[in-house]
Amino acid sequence: MRRLPNPFRLIARNPVALKELRGRMRGPRAFIVLTGYLIVVAGFTVIIYLATTEASLSTTGEVDGGTVGRFLFNSVVAMELFLVTFITPAFTASAISGEHEHQTYDLLRTTLLPERSLVWGKLFSTLAYVMLLLLAAIPLQSIAFLFGGVDLPEIYIAFVTLFATTTLLGTLGVYFSATTRRTLKANIFTYVSTMGLVVITAMAVMVLVSIEVSRSFGGQNNITVAGEWVLLLLRGVFVCLNPLTTLLTSQDYLINQQSAFSFVYTFSDGSTVTLPSPWIVYSIAYMVLSALIFWRTVRVMSEIEE
């Protein structure tokens, strides 16, 4: 039986990944960033805890552990998502442009290092560092278990969704870094794309949900099943492109339908359809998009200056 490859050996085989990780973890910077990040998340968790317990006491006269736990968990995940959205592009937007700016790009291009190894090394080192931040915050997420109201699958779903988000944003950052060759430009393009993706999809979801709500409560049930399918798919596409709506709807299906992997949608004529949970579609879509952007980045880098 073949032995599985040692992951540390695989990293060491990519000189760029090794160099980037060494550089990132050297000195007090990595420790300071990690500590600062945990202090922010922990501080935020404490504020959320105090606010939710206070609200729970003032409305029901007692602390509803489940509500507090779920709200705490959601807040920590939302905070992580926010940080990932801001940190990942900042790390990757200088990946290739930094080589141009430090005048080391030509040196790398005249070595035998394949373009894909350069891109992968840059991306991997960023993903590894962001993963470290996410893993370090798991104990804070787990505080929610003390109150109840959160299941283990929710942690997995949150982690996979955050990972897919980091991968796409990281790849996007490297792509713009390779095409613009200037860190400032790459940062602007990456943040604008990220904001565009998050804001536009969120707005689209809001519009589609409001149509759905007004249709249900307005008693306008003259829409056909085919029309309902269109609306469902349209809403599904936008929900599954936005990390926040993906997390919220996946959690909703998990709680109300007790299924982490699928949900059942009931049409107005009583017929039903089983569809995959949004986090699955989201993760697959983001990973496929990441792979396409990665491939395109390698192509761009392989082009010889004319």
């Binding site: 430090h102 080391t104 030509d106 040196l107 070595t111 035998l112």
Partner: protein, 353 residues
């Protein structure tokens, strides 16, 4: 411990430098005679590079024999860097062909990269790395197996005399040291050809001398060195071959000795005498090949003659023998080497693109 009793350090270093310089000159002379002019390691034919309307490199035919130290000379904007970028596979030629070590720069870029070590005209060092990590990183990029790298790094640092700075951060090195480190990097995969863009640019005199010595050392190890420079003194001292580029065109190239001969058809010999200059002129005029004899300004009252001569070394020997036979007291008798600057001024027109 006291330093009393030790010889003056400056003096010792100076004499050591002089000794090294003499050794280098001898090494370059030896290289100049050993090179097979037909065994080309870098060859371009009709190489062109256009940037829009600007024709940066025009029908360039470059011929660099194996083992040569080739000085690629030209004013700023002549097209030296564009040529080097095409040779190093960083830029695609508009037309024409270029081969390094038998591999086409457009069809076999990977093999070309395996054959060359490239140092651009900027440092290009990662400041947040240690010296050994920098070399280890590039050795890995050149696919040197992990187990071989520690020994390789030790040898490279020894060669560029940076062993004592192995664990220092790169940003702590002086400019000259960084340049030497860059040179060590180019050698990580033991390439046949080194392509160096202005390797001595911006360095202080000592660092320039050190780089020159290093290049000669590398040539002695069998490397072909192709470097650009506008410091003619460097080129004239260490090169076996030169190519002069102006406005994208090669105006002259070949072995440095031959170029000097072509551009200065006669040789110049300067003789310093104690006295009897007229008798000396008569004796010298009888030697075949002597074209003209001019009087130069006397030096400390001693008459000096400048002889223009076309012929071989035997004729020069006959001149000295004729003076000796007549009993004319000779203080100094030496051939004047034509300055590369003269060669450069003669063949270039000062055109800058």
């Amino acid at each position: 411990m006291s330093d009393l009793g030790t010889p003056p350090v400056e003096e010792e270093v100076f004499s050591a430098d002089e000794h090294v310089a003499a050794e280098n000159l001898a090494a370059v002379s030896a290289l100049r005679t050993e090179i097979d002019e037909t065994d080309l390691i870098i060859e371009t034919r009709g190489l062109n590079k256009r940037y829009g309307k600007l024709h940066a490199v025009k029908d360039l035919t470059l011929q660099v024999p194996k083992g040569a130290i080739y000085g690629f000379v030209g004013p700023n904007g002549a097209g030296k860097t564009s040529t080097m970028r095409m040779l190093t596979t960083l830029m695609r030629p508009t037309s024409g062909e270029a081969h390094i070590n038998g591999f086409s720069v457009t069809k076999d870029p990977r093999e070309v990269r395996r054959s060359i070590g490239y140092m651009p005209d900027f440092f290009g060092v990662y400041e947040d790395m240690k010296v050994w990590e920098y070399l280890d990183f590039f050795a890995a990029c050149y696919e040197i197996p992990e187990g071989q790298r520690p020994g390789l790094i030790r040898d490279l640092l020894e060669l560029v005399e940076l062993s004592h700075r192995r664990d220092d951060m790169v940003d702590k090195l002086s400019r000259g040291m960084k340049q030497r480190l860059c040179l060590a990097r180019t050698l990580a995969h033991d390439p046949a050809v080194l392509i160096l863009d202005e390797p001595a640019s911006g360095l202080d005199p000592r660092a320039r001398v050190e780089i020159r010595e290093l290049l000669i050392e590398l040539a002695k190890m069998g490397k072909t060195i192709f470097f650009s420079s506008h410091i003619l003194a460097d080129v004239s001292e260490i090169c076996t071959h030169i190519g002069i580029l102006e406005a994208g065109e090669m105006v002259m190239q070949g072995p440095i000795k031959e170029l000097r001969k072509q551009l200065s058809p006669h040789r110049t010999i300067v003789v310093t005498l104690l006295n009897r200059p007229d008798e000396a002129k008569q004796a010298l005029n009888l030697i075949a090949g002597v074209q003209n004899i001019h009087d130069l300004e006397p030096e400390d009252g001693k008459p000096r003659l400048k002889i223009e001569f076309t012929g071989e070394d035997t004729g020069i020997s006959e001149m000295l023998q004729a003076l000796m036979t007549k009993g004319i007291p000779v203080v100094n008798f030496a051939e004047e080497a034509s300055d590369l600057e003269d060669v450069f001024m003669k063949v270039t027109k000062g055109i800058v693109t």
